[in-house]
């Protein structure tokens, strides 16, 4: 299964490991490597941020007790930097208030050391899926936004009126145009946006929240 993902994903997903204990980093990266995954260990939050590229996909395996920075602070810093990398927290002793804080701050999973391999893999898989979906969504949105940007001023006006449910006749009256002209603009909008039907167009405009 993992092999399969490895082959299908052109841009291979990476597990970024941040733990101040070198032996943990080593153990985890050894295990992930044995499972055919790509793992990158970092011994501190600073080092991770130094090498970090928001374009790289994957997930973060984070120790809950980092020197100089709590896991929650780390998460906040990442959000500020605009990252959507899913985080899996690891801690030696599951103290309840920290778990609550971490889960609230958006971590997807919480592991108590030492944890079975299955739990770790399950969490990583989940995180990868979330990251992949998020990135795919982002890609689609970007293409829709690109297409919307190619519309002329008039076409955009027509599109917003069409998606608001107005008839050609009403749009013509509103914009002081002939019905023929409205129909032409409408066809251009459909072509440029790549929409097959009115329903498609409404969905697209909803996704990019066009006015």
């Amino acid at each position: 299964m993992t092999k399969q993902r490895h082959n299908t994903d052109a841009d291979q997903q990476t597990v970024f490991i941040v733990d101040d204990d070198a032996s943990i980093c080593e153990g985890l990266s050894n295990l992930l490597e044995a499972l055919g995954m790509k793992a990158e260990p970092y011994s501190s939050a600073e080092m991770f941020f130094e090498h970090w590229d928001s374009a790289r996909s994957g997930c973060l395996l984070l120790d809950g007790r980092l020197p100089g920075m709590t896991g929650v602070e780390f998460h906040d810093k990442m959000l500020q930097a605009g990252s959507t990398l899913p985080i899996i927290f690891m801690t030696a002793h599951g103290d309840i208030p920290m778990v609550r804080k971490v889960m609230k701050s958006g971590a997807i999973e919480f592991l108590t050391k030492p944890f079975p391999k299955e739990e770790l893999l399950h969490a990583i898989e989940q995180a990868f899926t979330i990251d992949r979906d998020r990135r795919r969504e982002e890609k689609i949105l970007n293409s829709i936004r690109g297409r919307a940007a190619s519309l002329t001023e008039r076409e955009r006006e027509v599109m917003s009126m069409v998606t608001a449910g107005m008839l050609n006749k009403q749009i013509a009256a509103e914009l002081n145009l002939s019905e023929i002209m409205v129909k032409t603009h409408r066809r251009h909008v459909m072509d440029k946006m790549g929409a097959e039907s009115l329903a498609d167009l409404v969905k697209l405009s909803e996704r990019i929240k066009m006015p």
Binding site: I24, L31, A34, A92, H93, P114, K117
Partner: protein, 525 residues
């Protein structure tokens, strides 16, 4: 000569300048007019009487003139006396001595006349002397009377002052919001202030301990009696904390404090006592002790919890590494083809991490083993005596008598005095607790024994409820307690302390039904 004359003149001037007219008239009055008038009056009276009676009595004039001289000297002083002698002589010579009416005196009368003059002078002197002495006596008497009056007034004033100061003192002792008393050297109460009377509801009279037994709590009364008796023996100030029964029927804690007043020869003259209400303080203190106990227990639990967490973290790190490496190792072996090299590397890592985990365990054990004990060569007897002194009040309150049977010439032992006293305190308090529900006599016996084989032994024996075999078997185990709120650590700590001293601690059944704790310690080398 001229110079001498000038000097005399200047002295005279100076004298006259000082002598004012007023002084001059006083002078004249005192040394001229007054004695002259008195002498003249008496001599004239004598002359008249002589004229009247000269034919009836032979020479009466002499006695009359003697009287005039005497009277003059008496009333007018010596000057008047002499003037009277002169006046009398002249009158007698002129009128009454032949030839009459002439100043000449006939031959036969000359002797008599001279005798008169001399006797008159003598009378003057005697009369004057008498008068003077009489005056002196009268003056002395007057002075005496004046002084007696003065002293009487003074005495009256000082009596008033004394009464006033007594009254003030009483007001003062009543104004101070404290209960006070004073007793004589033997402890018979002489005075107690209104506050004390008001509080206990009746006058406090008679012997101190008898009077106090009526309002002290029976437990505290025993303490008071002991302290009072030793104060009587040593003559030293004392203080006792005791519950005092109020007229309303409830007890409050008081600090009874007394100091002796010493007389000049150093003997005790009087005892002064004051009762200070410490109920609030006592309650606050009790609350504080309880709070401290709770806090200590809580902090012990907290620190144990924290310690456990940090040990868990320390152990978890290598264990996590071991677990993940093990998974990896299996994964390398399962791969097709199996990656033997990576698997072997990973196995090495597993060994490394496991070693690290066991090092953590060793470190934790080292943390709990104390190798840095204090060791002093100390006499166990003196340590015991010191502690028993501290426990005396507690023992009396719990109605426990502590008997010490200490071996003479007990050799010293190398020990940590604080820790050994802690062990000892634990055993004594346990023994007292064990006897809390036992019937009397609640006797606690502490013995020290010198053993032949360079060991010393101490036993603490109670007459409590004793131990069941099950309890006896587990009594030194940590977290084992028979008390409702015991930590179960007391005897466990005792054992670890004694064993660290290379000694032994065990418990046996006592012949009297209670428990005996035995401790052996090696003698100092």
């Amino acid at each position: 000569m001229c110079l001498f004359g000038k000097t005399v003149a200047s002295v005279y001037d100076a004298f006259m300048k000082r002598l004012t007219a007023d002084q001059l008239s006083q002078w004249t009055m005192r040394y001229g007019v007054r004695p002259g008038a008195i002498a003249g009056f008496f001599v004239f009276v004598a002359f008249l009487w002589t004229l009247l009676f000269q034919h009836a009595i032979a020479y009466p004039y002499l006695f009359l003139f003697y009287g005039a001289v005497m009277g003059s000297a008496w009333f007018g002083g010596i000057l008047a006396g002499f003037l009277a002698v002169i006046f009398s002589s002249l009158i007698i010579a002129f009128f009454f001595v032949p030839p009459f009416l002439s100043m000449t005196i006939a031959e036969p009368s000359q002797t008599y006349f001279a005798a008169f003059i001399f006797s008159a002078i003598a009378i003057t002197l005697v009369s004057f002397a008498l008068r003077r002495s009489e005056t002196a006596v009268r003056n002395a008497r007057d002075q005496l009377e004046a002084r007696v009056l003065e002293r009487t007034a003074e005495l009256q004033q000082s009596n008033l002052d004394l009464l006033e100061s007594g009254r003030r003192l009483r007001m003062l002792t009543d104004a101070i919001p404290q209960q006070m008393w004073s007793a004589n050297a033997g402890g018979i109460i002489e005075y107690c202030n209104q506050h004390l009377i008001d509080y206990v509801g009746h006058p406090v009279e008679g012997a101190l301990e008898e009077a106090f037994s009526s309002f002290l709590h029976s437990v505290d009364e025993r303490v008071f009696r002991q302290v009072w008796h030793s104060a009587l023996e040593t003559g030293k100030a004392f203080e006792v904390e005791a519950r005092v029964l109020s007229a309303a029927g409830n007890y409050r804690w008081f600090l009874i404090r007394s100091i002796p007043q010493l007389s000049a020869d150093g003997a005790i003259a009087r005892w002064y006592g004051i009762h200070i209400d410490i109920e609030q303080q006592y309650r606050a203190q009790q609350g504080l002790i309880q709070a401290q106990g709770k806090l200590a227990r809580l902090s012990r639990i907290l620190s144990m919890g924290e310690l456990a967490a940090s040990i868990a973290h320390e152990l978890n790190q290598p264990l996590t590494a071991v677990v993940t490496h093990s998974y990896a190792c299996r994964q390398w072996l399962r791969a097709n083809p199996a990656n033997i090299e990576r698997a072997a590397d990973t196995a090495d890592k597993i060994v490394q991490e496991s070693t690290r985990a066991s090092a953590v365990v060793a470190r934790v054990r080292a943390l709990f083993r104390k190798d840095d004990f204090v060791r002093e060569a100390r006499n166990l007897n003196s340590l015991i005596q010191e502690l028993v002194r501290l426990l005396r009040d507690d023992a009396i309150r719990r109605n426990v008598s502590i008997e010490l049977v200490l071996a003479e010439d007990l050799p010293k032992a190398d020990l940590d005095p604080v820790q050994i006293q802690q062990v000892f305190l634990n055993l004594v308090l346990n023994a007292m607790d064990a006897m809390a529900e036992a019937s009397e006599p609640r006797q606690l016996t502490i013995r020290t024994i010198k053993q032949a084989d360079s060991m010393i032994q101490m036993t603490v024996e109670d007459r409590g409820t004793g131990l069941t075999p099950e309890v006896a078997a587990r009594i030194f185990e940590p977290f084992f307690s028979t008390k409702a709120n015991g930590t179960g650590m007391g005897l466990a700590i005792c054992r670890s302390i004694i064993e660290a001293h290379e000694g032994r601690i065990w418990a046996t059944e006592s012949a009297g039904g209670g428990t005996v704790f035995h401790i052996t310690l090696p003698v100092s080398s």
